[in-house]
């Protein structure tokens, strides 16, 4: 056993003693560090002072809910629904706490050579809350819900490459793609793709709220709260709480007060301004997890003045990322480098030089482009993110040093994504975490993507994107992503100042695993099934 591995085991054991690591994770890491499963089990029993305990009602304040939410997975939009989906429904695959891809309904999956056909083997233990077994029919109907001409699903674009979905017996599902996609199992974690019980006609029954997740809904009201209780016989490990209450708390102050006063056990988002103050409260743990989510500032590369790459780079140079991270995010972010690939995603290239605030160079670039004293307008709204307006204002202040005048236009919150995004040449956009760089680039940087928010057309980039998609060799893939990152950084039309962290909080008596998933807030939206009460 290497020294490095021994250190790792010591650390894991220490974490286990403090009760900060789950048994599952403990086993996972120990085995990874070279122990056999039985040795690991022994070590767990000796070192874990506080292993997950069952029981209790988990009151969970969630920051984005709406009275007009529905159970339709195709129109999931708010955090409350996404979190609820991860609590009462199942997916084919799930993202583990350490960011790896793990099984949910599918026990295992494999691809054809060119990654254009995928086979998922389903677990035979899974059942819906109604008692019905989860079979291939349910999976096929659930995926088809997002396909076809008359679907109203927001996930339609995700599955456009799927040509056919077939079953091979009750527990095997085969998916045929029009072109290879090595990341297809990752796509299956998308929050829209929850598996619902199928009707006889091949549609799904989403209205009843039935699912095969760790908890079943007892009662609830959209935009207010949901009460759930444990689904005995859930097909995976976890679900320690007896009951879960998911409460919609849209007002940041109400959320925080509820956490401070103990009206809830955890909240899904903490106001960054008060993060530091909250950390001082001994009753509260602030959980700060780097994510792949980002605020982007796309410029239309085909619209003056952004059609000049020097202007674009000047604008990229005149933003002080550190200042923004400090003032807007209070440090809770990873510095961005103008390519949409975060350290929380696989294949992240760690050797690309960081772009820094350099108003002088920006000035000279502008001079070169003949655009000195540039004036542009940037559109933003509070609905983009809590600090989006402040951020734009701060950027405008910083850009003054480069002789750039930026007018901040606060747009109405309502309809921002229908009237501003993709319509105004320079705006702020909030992007949720996507599991892989491929998904992200395909969605918003591919030349013909519907959401190519910067109207960026780069031949080499698109070529690489297609190659990487079906490349099953990780090393080659990583190299391709590195080159794409450089292209986006130096030629692309999007400023990415930072990847924001997920900052959420829990009462001190709530036990959490060491690794918290970075796909969503609250441990990848799975706090209900992964956390527990310590006392």
């Amino acid at each position: 056993m290497s020294k490095k591995n021994q250190n790792l085991i010591d650390r894991i054991a220490e974490e286990a003693r403090k009760g900060r690591i789950s048994r599952r994770d403990f086993m996972h890491y120990s085995v990874a560090a070279g122990l056999t499963a039985s040795t690991a089990t022994g070590l767990w029993t000796t070192s874990a002072a506080a292993q997950p305990k069952s029981g209790g009602t988990f009151r969970w304040g969630i920051h984005d809910g709406n009275t007009s939410d529905t159970h339709d997975p195709g129109t999931y939009l708010t955090r409350v629904m996404i979190f609820l989906a991860h609590t009462h429904r199942s997916y084919l695959t799930m993202i583990n706490g350490d960011g790896s891809l793990g099984p949910d309904l599918a026990d295992s999956w494999e691809a054809s050579e060119d990654a254009s056909e995928w086979t998922f083997k389903l677990t035979e233990n899974a059942s819906f809350h109604s008692g019905k077994k989860v079979t291939a029919d349910d999976v096929i109907a659930s995926l088809n819900h997002h396909r076809g001409d008359d679907t109203t699903s927001a996930a339609k674009a995700l599955l456009t490459d799927v040509t056919d979905i077939t079953k091979d017996g009750d527990y095997v599902v085969k998916v045929a793609l029009s072109r290879g996609n090595a990341d297809f199992p990752w796509l299956m974690t998308d929050y829209h793709l929850a598996i619902c019980p199928a009707n006889d006609d091949g549609t799904i029954d989403w209205k009843s709220g039935d699912g095969s997740g760790p908890y079943k809904i007892d009662n609830g009201e959209f935009g207010v709260q949901f009460s759930l209780s444990r689904h005995d016989g859930w097909h995976r490990e976890g679900a320690y709480f007896d009951k879960v209450e998911m409460i919609t708390l849209n007002d940041p102050n109400a959320r925080q007060t509820a956490l401070v006063t103990g009206d809830v056990d955890s909240v899904s988002q903490v106001d960054l301004k008060t993060m530091a103050l909250l950390q001082r409260d001994p009753n509260i743990n602030v959980l700060n997890v780097p994510s792949a989510g980002a605020i982007t500032m796309p410029m239309f590369c085909d619209t003056a003045p952004f059609d000049n790459v020097d202007v674009r780079n000047a604008l990229k140079l005149s933003i002080d990322r550190d200042d923004i991270i400090e003032k807007i995010l209070f440090g809770a972010a990873t510095k961005g480098n103008d390519f949409h690939h975060s350290p929380a995603q696989p294949y992240w290239p760690d050797d690309i030089p960081q772009r820094e605030y350099d108003p002088d160079q920006a000035k000279s670039l502008l001079k070169k482009a003949g655009a000195e004293g540039l004036t542009v307008s940037i559109s933003t709204a509070d609905s983009v993110s809590a600090g989006a307006v402040d951020m734009a204002v701060l950027y405008a202040e910083q850009a003054k040093a480069a002789g750039i005048t930026i007018n901040v236009v606060r747009e109405p919150n309502d309809g921002y994504y229908s009237d501003v995004w993709l319509k105004k040449p320079f705006c702020l956009v909030s992007w949720g975490a996507r599991p892989t760089p491929d998904v992200m680039y395909t969605l918003a940087y591919k030349d013909d993507a519907a959401w190519n928010e910067s109207h960026w057309q780069n031949e080499r980039f698109n070529e690489l994107l297609l190659q990487a998609k079906s490349e099953l060799d990780d090393t080659l893939r990583a190299e391709m992503y590195r080159e794409m990152a450089m292209l986006a950084r130096d030629d692309g039309g999007t400023i990415i100042p930072f990847f924001n962290n997920f900052v959420y909080g829990a009462r001190a008596n709530v036990g959490t695993p060491e690794n918290l998933a970075a796909s969503w807030e609250s441990d990848g939206a799975r706090a209900a099934s992964r956390w527990w009460f310590n006392d």
Binding site: N253, Q256, E326, K327, D382, D390, V393, P412, D414
Partner: protein, 354 residues
């Protein structure tokens, strides 16, 4: 027992005795009951509580003194007719006038008074107060004090313009309705009913969502929301005037509606309208603050008290007073306006209760 406590009670008792000696019953009751209450406060809260009482009383006395001095100042500089009116102003009203005056100065001379620029980032976020920044910095490191000064200009200016517009529309419609009567009166009345029956915040929300949140839209929407109230009041006031014989005389002379409104009705309805203006101003101010609170207010980085409260509201749970300052600025101004309005209503209603 500290010297402070001894001095505290000695001063109170001596003042009570003096008041009693000079037969100032009100003052005596006030002072002596304060003495008695202080015993209880002192027992429960100890010296700090007594200090708080002293500070509070001192602040009150300072406010009263300032108001009194300001009133005398106004009396001296104004014309005899106005000075006579001013002499009737109670302390609360002169306090109100003083506050309004201060706000007006702050608003007009904001660029000169404020030590820093409105959106100038000068330090780190939430930097504590120092000699450079009176009240510390906000979430972007901008000077809160400067932003409050500029906020006076923006918030108060916006509310003022909106109220003026509401008044113009409401009063004009009300006067026309009172003079014309008949179907026009009915129509305007129904229209006012319709607007009033939709909750103001909802109405503003809808309209601002439709037309965007630029200043012009805010002013117009808020004016439309509040004009029915002005309309109703003007209609009622003018309704009392149009039955006067001098209106009948003017009508029988063959005067037109516009002359009736301008020369006969308007001069007689100014007092209640001005008082209403003050009240409306407060409501408009609070509505705009509420809109800003919901994120539909003035565009950033323009400083505005409502948004300043909203931006920092979460700090309240930690006992940080930063967000309370702009909120208190809102409250102080509305209180001040209400004080003045109260006095004016008292004057115009002719209540001479002693």
């Amino acid at each position: 027992m500290s010297i402070f406590v001894i001095g505290y009670y000695a001063a109170l008792i001596a003042a009570s005795c003096l008041a009693a000696y000079y037969k100032k019953h009100g003052a005596f009751m006030l002072l002596f009951s304060l003495t008695l209450v202080s015993f209880i406060i002192g027992i429960i809260g100890g010296v700090p509580a007594l200090r708080a009482v002293t500070t509070f009383a001192g602040a009150l006395a300072l406010a009263a003194g300032t108001s009194y001095a300001f009133k005398e100042f106004l009396i001296l500089i104004s014309k005899p007719a106005l000075a006579k009116e001013l002499r009737t102003a109670p302390l609360t009203a002169s306090f109100g006038m003083f506050v309004i005056f201060t706000y007006a100065i702050a608003a007009i001379f904001a660029p000169w008074i404020a030590p820093h620029g409105e959106s100038e980032v000068i330090s780190s976020a939430f930097a504590p107060p120092d000699e450079n920044m009176l009240l510390g910095a906000d979430q972007l490191g901008r000077d809160i004090f400067s932003r409050i000064i500029y906020g006076a200009r923006n918030s108060v200016g916006l509310a003022l313009v909106a109220t003026l517009l509401a008044f113009f529309m409401g009063a004009f419609a009300g006067l026309m309705a009172a003079v014309k009567g008949g179907w026009f009166d009915q129509l305007m009345g129904r229209l006012a009913d319709v607007i009033m029956s939709i909750p103001s915040l909802i109405f503003a929300l809808l309209m601002l969502s439709i037309f965007g949140t630029n200043l012009g839209v805010i002013v117009i929407v808020v004016a439309v929301i509040y004009s029915p109230r002005v309309f109703r009041l003007t209609r009622a006031v003018a309704g009392n005037i149009v039955v006067m014989d001098y209106i009948e005389a003017a009508k029988l002379r063959g005067e037109g509606d516009w002359y009736l409104i301008r020369r006969e009705i308007l001069p007689n309805s100014t007092a209640p309208l001005v008082a209403e203006f003050g009240l409306e101003f407060c409501f408009v101010f609070l509505l705009i603050a509420g809109l800003s609170f919901l994120g539909l207010g003035i565009q950033p980085p323009t400083a505005d008290w409502g948004s300043m409260v909203r931006e920092n509201a979460t700090l309240i749970s930690f006992g940080d007073i930063t967000p309370l300052i702009p909120a208190a600025a809102i409250a102080l101004l509305t209180v001040a306006v209400n004080f003045v309005v109260d006095w004016m209503l008292f004057r115009s209603s002719g209540l001479k209760e002693q």
